[in-house]
């Protein structure tokens, strides 16, 4: 029982990284812009957050710095692809490469740095309950924030006027433009928010999750988040589910190995990817559903007439 509680706790923690990044990319892509620079953005945010945490000792400032770094990179990307109409995929890839190199360069001095000891977070009262306490109520506040954010984004997209406008811009920028909405500025805002959330994810990895900085440390999480957004058909709840699923199967396969289960470890390593894809494809197998949810103008440049 205790094992399961710890597994659940580790799953929530592991999924949080992906959730932030994938939710950011979801907003980003809902506006019709694909940002393949997520991995590089996360790396730059990881070092920005880590450096801030080293100098100030404050995790929240570190998340802020990560978000700012992510937003700044995304803004540069946004100006390039929205106003200068550069190719979104090529620019995104360039951003990813740039981020990896730039973060390594500025991070050289921080490889040997260490952060202060972390104290465990507990929700008073609830944390001491049997099973549910260790499973759900001893998490870093960011874990709960990810869930709150998912609800907020779902509400924003489907219940608020601003969300409707954002979706309209992603579906048909021409129509939105004809109605008088500032398509380019809305897209830039979405890209910047997306970058900021990727930045939070990056800072979470370096400051909370691994508690260290080494270059290239996100090790592909940005790409997984990008894939997750697509497989979850751009629905916030499914993105969160996919993130937990991926984190959960990752932790489960490691746990199984630790128990000495006789399955090829290479197969187990593959499992998280396989399971996430299978489940998300199954729940989204309706082609009409995908068409309805996929922003129609995604990846296409827009020229206001």
């Amino acid at each position: 029982m205790e094992q399961i509680a710890l597994l659940v706790a580790a799953t929530l923690n592991s999924g949080t990284v992906l959730a932030f990044a994938a939710l950011g990319l979801l907003i980003n892509e809902r506006s019709g812009i694909v940002n393949l620079g997520a991995e590089g953005t996360m790396l730059v945010a990881a070092i920005a957050g880590f450096a801030t945490a080293v100098h100030t000792g404050n995790d929240w400032l570190a998340f802020g710095a990560g978000a700012m770094a992510g937003a700044a990179l995304a803004a540069a990307f946004g100006v390039l692809v929205i106003w200068l109409n550069t190719n979104q995929y090529a620019t995104g890839l360039a951003l990813s490469l740039f981020g990896a190199g730039f973060s390594a360069f500025v991070g050289i001095g921080y490889t040997q740095e260490k952060l202060g000891e972390q104290h465990a977070f507990r929700i008073p009262g609830l944390a001491d309950l049997p099973f549910v306490g260790p499973a759900f109520f001893r998490q870093h506040p960011m874990v709960y924030l990810a869930i709150a954010l998912t609800i907020a984004i779902a509400w924003f997209l489907y219940r608020s006027r601003a969300g409707l406008v954002l979706r309209a811009v992603g579906e048909s920028p021409e129509s939105a433009h004809a109605l008088g909405y500032p398509v380019r500025r809305i897209r830039l805002a979405a890209v910047v928010v997306g970058g900021a959330l990727c930045g939070v994810a990056g800072a979470y990895i370096s400051v909370v999750y691994t508690h260290l900085w080494v270059e290239g440390m996100t090790a592909g999480k940005g790409w997984i988040a990008l894939a997750l957004t697509t497989f979850a058909t751009w629905r916030p709840a499914r993105v969160l589910l996919g993130a937990y699923l991926f984190g959960g199967v990752t932790m489960l396969q490691l746990q199984l190995q630790g128990q000495g289960v006789q399955v090829s470890t290479q197969f187990l390593t593959m499992l998280p990817y396989l399971a996430t894809i299978v489940v998300l494809v199954l729940i989204s197998r309706n082609a009409t559903f995908i068409r309805v949810n996929m922003p129609a103008s995604m990846g296409k440049p827009f020229f206001p007439q």
Binding site: Q3, L6, L7, A10, S14, V17, L80, L84, N85, T86, N87, A90, T91, A94, L97, F98, G101, A104, G107, I108, T111, Q112, K114, E117, Q118, I205, Y209, T210, H211, L212, V214, E215, G216, M217, T218, A219, G220, K221, T250, M251, L254, Q255, Q257, G258, Q259, G260, V261, Q262, S264, T265, Q266, T269, F303
Partner: protein, 403 residues
Amino acid sequence: MNRLSKRSFVQLAGWGSLAAIAMLAGCSKEEKTTTTTAPESTTTTTTTTSSTTVGAASAPATAASGPLKIAFAYVGPVGDGGWTFAHDNARKALEKEFGDKIQTSFVEKVPEAADAERVFRDMASQGNKLIFGTTFGYMEPMLKVAADLPDVKFEHATGYKTLPNMNVYDSRTYQGAYMAGVIAGGMTKTNTLGVVGSVPIPEVVRNINSFTLGAQSVNPKVKTRVVWVNEWFNPPKETEAAQSLINGGADVLMQNTDSSAVLQTAGKAGKYAFGWDSDMTAYAPNAHLASAVINWAPYYIKTTRDALDGTWKGNQHTWWGVKEGAIDLVSISDKVPAELKEKVEKVKAGLKDGSFEIWKGPITSNDGKEVVASGTTADDKFLGGINFFVKGVEGKVPGADKK
């Protein structure tokens, strides 16, 4: 029309900046000095025969063309704080030792794939006469390049294939693992140790076994759990693996991966762990029990001196350990009781003067077979092919039953 030309200009600018980035990235590795090192090896030396003639033939070449150019290919970033960091420290030691007699350069993050071959050829074409490849996966690419370029000397870490102009070298990392095990066995309260393994190759399996043997030497009840991440460097995954071991009850962790993530995770959970490859005390002072470090400098200095003197020989297998100063257990924590420390010192002294052997029988595997008979000591060939776990390690080596 105006818009069209503006648009195409912008696209051009976008692609142009992309190309510029790519070129910049390329340039950092170029620095072409076109040292017109004429066809110095007129290949009169029958490269397949005695290796001394090869050494003699290449000696004047190094004397003629200024400093000896030495290149290193690293698998990780120099900032990994572990494996590659240790190699780069040795490179720096090399520069200190020989000053302007040599000129070193390195390329980091070279993948263990076909790309490595291109990097080695690149290094040779830039006039490097001594090339180090610092990971197992470079074996085949390096072998191919070495066969084509008989006048360049190649040194390959942790492999097993050689040529008249290619040596292999390694460190007895398992000796460090054993010494760490002695401490782990004494420090564990749950009698459960955890190891985060990278890739299930003999080197790593040997380290896990030696770690366990060391622990059993002070605490026979110890058992070791292993989790593989199938990668050398992936901090988030190493963190997850360490977390799952802790969840499973392990309270002292060891890792054979390249970052300090496992140590940090242990620190966060209030457990113990070790530094690996480099001294990692600073990362988690409270969790850190000791660091099993590799010092590549003695070997790098020796082989470079041989190359400079013209006495360098190919087809060599070098495997250095505590005795040669290549392996050590350093920065032992104050939390480790004095008697354990003493035990480690005794093991170290024994390894140094040859009076103590780690792989001495009787040793049984975890499926009950006697692998090293009582009274015998395993030779290097045996150690190089270990694909079983010793008694006390749980589970099976992945893929072992296929061989």
